[in-house]
Structures are given as structure tokens and as C-alpha cells.
């Protein structure tokens, strides 16, 4: 029953997300409230300076009542536990409040508008990079498994270990230095040129700006993909039915692509998608180096401007996307590997 498995997995994903949002709102309660109080005080100051012809008492009274209504509006007059619950509910309904400094492209200060603008560039960059990454990794991994223990296999395995802990953003800096300032063939950052071109030229311009970050991500990424593909394929190659296929005289290519890859495909696909999700979570600040206007860059900007509401909103949206990715991954894995559907748990 595949659909039943789907429903359970999606529900568990939603429940986990809700729990995590509660944890976040408890963890960051103090700083979020400080910011909210600061914002209220600022709004009130602006309101008061606009008032004319009121006596001192009337002003004081106005201030008191406004404070009360606004505190009530933001639930700041409730006990601690209730405030945390309110904040979590606000976050779950994408109501992250107003930013303190950062504005969206349309000059809106709604945090959700600001964060949602950053999602497409991030998705574009990481999916493109991972797609190329997987193609190269899969090809190289198969070659490695074919001649396991050979010079090529050993050499590329060492390559895997060499880039294992290399920070992608550091390689990004080096690439910018080399290919944007020394040899000027790529732009140093951004999503498109400043006089924004239109039509097909715009697509070309975005691709041109995307080239350097994508190349950097691929250079860092494909080694690990190749190594994992090699291990999975090598594991399958030890199975008896492969030996039987070889014994029947099926050519090595046929064994590799027909028999081995058929079994190795589910874990390879999962691994590839998992790497997309992990890369999204782990390389995210890489965008800041290339001033790529995505969610990772938003972390840089929010930290520089000390904009707490944007930081929180960005974290919750990132987490939501991350969990959605994990759920989709499980659904695809369940679809590819029939054994999962029946049990419904791993």
C-alpha cells in the first residue's frame, strides 16, 4: 500500500516540523521578544511625534493605552508558556512579523515576503549544481567500480579524501580571485548584470552568473558522489547473481549496466537526493561569497544588519524545506524499493 506509506510519512514530517518550530520558539524566545518590544517602542515613538494639540496627561494616557493594545496584539502580556505557543503558531502560519532593517525588492518589511523572494535563486543554484554533480559522479563511480583497485580508482579515491573537508566557500573565494579578478572571464557575483537585460538575454545572463558558483560546487561535490556510487556498485558486484551472469557469458558492460545498476539504482538515487538536501543545509552560506541573492546570502545580510525576525523566519523556512526534502526522499525511495512500502518503517 504505497499511498498509506505516503500518508504516514507526510504526517510524520508535518508533526516533526511542528515540534521543531515549538523548540525554536522556546529557544529563541528572549531575543525574539526583545526585538518585538523594540519594534513596538519605535512604532509608538513615530505615532507620538505625529500627535498635535494634546496635553501632557492626555499624551501619557494615549501612550499607556497604545502600549497595552499593542502588547496585547503581540501577546506580550500573557505568561511565558502561552507566549511561546503564540509565537510558534505565528511561525507555522508564516506570520513572522516585520523585519527591523531588511526590505524586500518591493520595499516590503514583511519577513515572509523577504524570505520567499530568496527561495528561487537558492533552489536554482543547488539543483543545477547537484544535477551536474550526480551525472559526473555516477559516470566516474561506475568507472571506478569497474576497475576497482586500479590506478584510476585509487587516484580518484585520494581526490575524494583531499576535498573531503574543503570548505566550498573557501574554494569559491579562490575561484573568484582567479576567474573574476586575475583572469577576467566570469562575473564576481550576483544573479544578473546591473542594467538588467530582458528576454532571452536575461536567461543567458543568469546562466553566465551561475557558471562560477556551479563549477565550484561541482568541483567540491562530485568526488564524494563517485566514491559512494563506487561503494554501492561494488557491494552489488559481490552478489551471486552477478557471478552467475558473468558465468553465462554476458559481456561485462551488460553485467554492469543491465544487472548491477538495476539493483544499485535505488540507493544511488537516494544518495544523490540526500546529497542535494545536505548540500542545501551545509553549503548554504556559500551563496554569500558569490553575493547570490538566495537564502544563504540572507543569513549573511541578517547577521550583518542584526535583523532578528528575518534570521528566525529564514531558519524556519530553511527547516521546512529541509524536512520537505527528507520526506520526498523517503517517498521516492519507497517507490523505488518495494520492500519499504510493505513494512512502512526502516
Amino acid at each position: 500500500m504505497y499511498w498509506k506509506y505516503c500518508v504516514t510519512r507526510i504526517c510524520s514530517g508535518i508533526v516533526i516540523f511542528v515540534i521543531i518550530v515549538f523548540i525554536f520558539s522556546a529557544l529563541f524566545n528572549t531575543v525574539a521578544e526583545e526585538t518585538a518590544r523594540g519594534q513596538i517602542a519605535e512604532t509608538l515613538k513615530a505615532e507620538m511625534s505625529g500627535l498635535r494639540g494634546l496635553s501632557h496627561e492626555e499624551l501619557l494616557h494615549y501612550r499607556e493605552t497604545r502600549y497595552e493594545t499593542m502588547y496585547h496584539q503581540y501577546h506580550l502580556d500573557r505568561p511565558l508558556g502561552e507566549r511561546i505557543i503564540w509565537r510558534a503558531i505565528d511561525s507555522l502560519t508564516l506570520n513572522f512579523g516585520k523585519s527591523t532593517m531588511i526590505k524586500s525588492r518591493a520595499q516590503s518589511d514583511n519577513v515572509w515576503t523577504i524570505v520567499s523572494e530568496c527561495i528561487p535563486p537558492t533552489v536554482l543554484l543547488f539543483t543545477t549544481a547537484i544535477a551536474i554533480d550526480i551525472l559526473i559522479g555516477l559516470w566516474l563511480g561506475l568507472k571506478k567500480a569497474q576497475r576497482a583497485g586500479g590506478i584510476m580508482d585509487k587516484g580518484t579515491s585520494i581526490g575524494t579524501m583531499v576535498v573531503y573537508g574543503m570548505p566550498s566557500w573557501w574554494l569559491g573565494m579562490i575561484m573568484i580571485m582567479l576567474f573574476a579578478y586575475v583572469i577576467k572571464i566570469f562575473p564576481s557575483g550576483g544573479l544578473y548584470s546591473t542594467p538588467r537585460p530582458s528576454g532571452i538575454a536575461f536567461v543567458g545572463d543568469v546562466l553566465y552568473h551561475m557558471a562560477l558558483p556551479v563549477i565550484t560546487l561541482v568541483i567540491i561535490g562530485f568526488w564524494a558522489r563517485a566514491y559512494l556510487t563506487r561503494n554501492i556498485v561494488l557491494g552489488v558486484l559481490q552478489d551471486d547473481y552477478i557471478m552467475a551472469a558473468r558465468a553465462r557469458g554476458i559481456p561485462e558492460r551488460g553485467v554492469l549496466y543491465g544487472h548491477t545498476l538495476r539493483t544499485a539504482a535505488p540507493p544511488i538515487v537516494t544518495m544523490a537526493l540526500l546529497s542535494l538536501i545536505v548540500s542545501f543545509g551545509g553549503n548554504i552560506i556559500f551563496e554569500g561569497v558569490f553575493s547570490w541573492p538566495g537564502m544563504g546570502n540572507l543569513y549573511w545580510v541578517a547577521i550583518q544588519q542584526n535583523d532578528v525576525p528575518v534570521l528566525m523566519g529564514n531558519l524556519i523556512v530553511t527547516t521546512a524545506l529541509y524536512i520537505a526534502g527528507l520526506v520526498i526522499l523517503d517517498l521516492i525511495y519507497g517507490f523505488l524499493d518495494p520492500r519499504i512500502k510493505v513494512g512502512g518503517r526502516r
Binding site: 510524520s12 514530517g13 516533526i16 516540523f17 515540534i19 521543531i20 523548540i23 529557544l27 529563541f28 531575543v31 576497482a148 583497485g149 580508482d153 579515491s157 585520494i158 575524494t160 579524501m161 583531499v162 576535498v163 573531503y164 573537508g165 574543503m166 570548505p167 566557500w169 573557501w170 574554494l171 573565494m173 579562490i174 573568484i176 580571485m177 579578478y181 586575475v182 564576481s188 561503494n231 561494488l234 557491494g235 559481490q238 542545501f280 543545509g281 551545509g282 548554504i284 552560506i285 554569500g288 561569497v289 543569513y299 549573511w300 541578517a302 547577521i303 550583518q304 532578528v308 534570521l311 528566525m312 529564514n314 531558519l315 530553511t318 527547516t319 529541509y322 524536512i323 527528507l326
Partner: protein, 456 residues
Amino acid sequence: MRWSDVKSGLLDFWGEFRRVKSGMVGLVLLVLFVGVVLAEPYIIPYSEAGTRWRDITYWEDRPEGVPPAWLFRGLPPTQTISNYAISEEVIGDVLLYEMVFSYDHRYDGAPQDLIFECEAIRKEPLMLSLSLQRPDDRTVDLLRKEVPPGVSRIRIPISKDEDAKNAAYQFALEYDENVRSDTIKTCEVLFTEARPSTPALRGTYALTAAFILSQDDRIEDARIVLPGKVSGLLGTDGQKRDIWSGIVVGLKWALLIGLLTAAVSVAVGVVYGVMSAYLGGWKDALMQRVYEIFVSIPLLPILIVMSAVFRPSVWVMITMMCIFFWVGPVKTVRSMGLQIKEETYIEASRGIGASDARIIFKHMVPLLIPYAFASMALNVPMAIVYESSISLLGLGDATIVTWGQILHDGFTGGAVLRNLWWWILPPGLAIAIVSMSFAFIGFAMDAILNPKLRTR
């Protein structure tokens, strides 16, 4: 399982491990790193680099943003001259006190700066004038200033002084009418043939510092410093700091952060996984739900936000990483634990009344020690990279020096734009090399633990 069994198991493991070349390379590198950490005071030229990294006065006599010395042999290194000739002359009730520093310039470029320093012990304000005699026998009167009483340490960097700049401008005008007073660099005029982009003028320069003092005043510890165009093994950064010292000092923090985080988080994860497998039932289900919540949190974003909000010290940062890293080995360990649990000796020891804790720690966890080591080795780079990513955003612990912080300073200080590659390249390479040696060790252990992956 007794201790001797664990010991023989580990010895077998070691016997296999030493046959893997890459693993041994990793181990040798690791020993080398430990050696560097222990020898730190002897291999860094600035012994207080670790504690006074952000103290501007500690680095003030260094040149700013210059490349490594071994790359450009013709360019001048930093020089300090504290020998000088003295001449005294009493005129009425004042003393004319002159010091002459002579400096032999044998390099292709002019030094970056010329700094005069001394201690003055006195009651009255004093007059000081500096003039430089060039090898072509021309003399430039650099500046003349009154130093108020109470200031005991006098430090005059020529390149920052407006009078000296003006003097240099007037001097350069005699050679070239097109020089501009707003872009002129004092030392580039004084130590060259005075026209823009002309070679350095080699020969003996003499800096004369003349004081007018009252009779019982004294000048001590005078010296001139000429910050060069190259510096040390890895050059200096935009705040005049020696990068080689920063890299060496950063190594111990990288190792500490990596090893401590990996050890604690893997230990917790292994015990958690084994407990989950052994206890089973609702306890297992609950522990798995908790585990699922933790794996569903994206690591780097939560660490970034927590660092931005709580501004942690390095110890709190390590704790934070441990809180989120322990999930790593849980899944594998649990499935291994489920297998071990079914072994007959576990049943036997339960039969003779061994407690759960005894079975878990004495009979199950020791079997997972090799796996735990492999997992730790592969977790070390992750911790190092995450700490540097957080530091890159400027959220690192400001009391220590880490490679991520050097990269943060470089990135925000425009090292990429100004092509100061010696500021960006070494810290990142250091992260990559340390990570690489742990990856060598971890991958080698992994290959031993998964016999299926053995090559034919």
C-alpha cells in the same frame, strides 16, 4: 567481554590498518600536527600572536598586506636599526641632541614606511626634527614638531605624517611637475629616484633626529623601523598581523574543536544507538522519534542562528555542535546493535542476571569501538568546517584565533578584491589538509570495517 579481548581486537584492527597506505599517511600527518602544536613557541616568530591577535599595538611595526618574503627576494624585508651616532652641543641652557641612524638600502623597492621611536624622559616640552639624507647627497627635511610634556613614548610613522608628506611632495616636484599631492606616497618618493614608478635608489641613507632638550632630559631606546614590502613565511594581512603565526596558533584550536566535538558526539551517538537497539519496545520507539527530530534540523543554519543569538565562546560552540552532531552514527549503530543483541552470549549474560547497563557497556559497546573510531575520524573535519563557517560569518569566539576568523577578516578586508592571496589561501588550505588527514584515517578504517568493499 573482558578488557584483554578489546585489546586484542584493537591490535588486530591496528594490524590491518597499518597495511593501508593512505591511512598511515593520515596518521603520520596527525602526529606531525601534534608536533607542531607542541613546538608552537619555537616556530612562530611572534610568541604572543595567540593572545594578542587583535591587539593593534602588538603588530604596529609590521608592514600591511605584504606577500611572503621567500617569493620576492629583491624586495625589502622589515628592518630595525637601533645603532646610532650621537652628537651633543650645549647652547646656553638648552641641549642640542642629534642622533644619526644610517641605513644601507640594497633592495628593489622602497620600504612601506619609516617609523621613528624613542622614550623621552623629561619635564619640559621638547622640539624634534627629522631629516633624511639620501645616497645622492640630497637632504629632505621631513618634519619639525613640538612634543608636549607627559608623553614619554614618541612614535612617528613618516608615511602617516602630513608634514613629511608635504616635504616629500615638494621634493618630488623638483623632479616631476605632474606629481599630485593627494596620491603621493611619502616613502615611495624618499627611497626612489623621486619620479613616479622609478626604481629604488640604492645606497646609504642617514636619518637625523635632532632634539632640543633642557639639560637634564634624556632620550633613550631610540630606533627606526622600516616595515618592508615582504614579510615572514606567509606575509601579513590587512591589519599587519603575521599570517604564519595565525595559522600555527589556529591549528591547536582546530584540533581541539574537531577532536573534542567528534569524540563527545560519536560517544553519545554510539551509546544512544546501542541503548535504543537493546532496550527495544516503546523505549526504542521514543528514542527513534527523538532521533528523527534531531536529524530533521538543518545543521549549519541552526548553528548559525544560535551563534548569532547567543554569541558563544568556543566551549559553548563545541557543546552546541555536540548537541546536533551526535545523530550521525545512531542509525548504523542501532542496526548493528540489533544484530549483536541476538547473539547467544547476550542471552546468556541476561540469563545469569547481568543488568542492562552492564550488558550495554560491557558486551555491546566494546564491539562497536572500531566503528566509533572510524566515525570519529570522519566527524572531525565536519566540526572544523562548521566552526570555520560560523567564524566566516563573524560569529566566532573573539578571544581565540581560528582559521575561519582569519578568512572572515580576509573576506571582509577585501583580500579577494585586492588579490591578497596569501591571506586567503593558507587558512583554507590548512582546513583542507587537516580535514584530509582525518579523512585518510577514517576512510582507511571504513574500508577495513566493510569487507564487502575490498577490491579484488
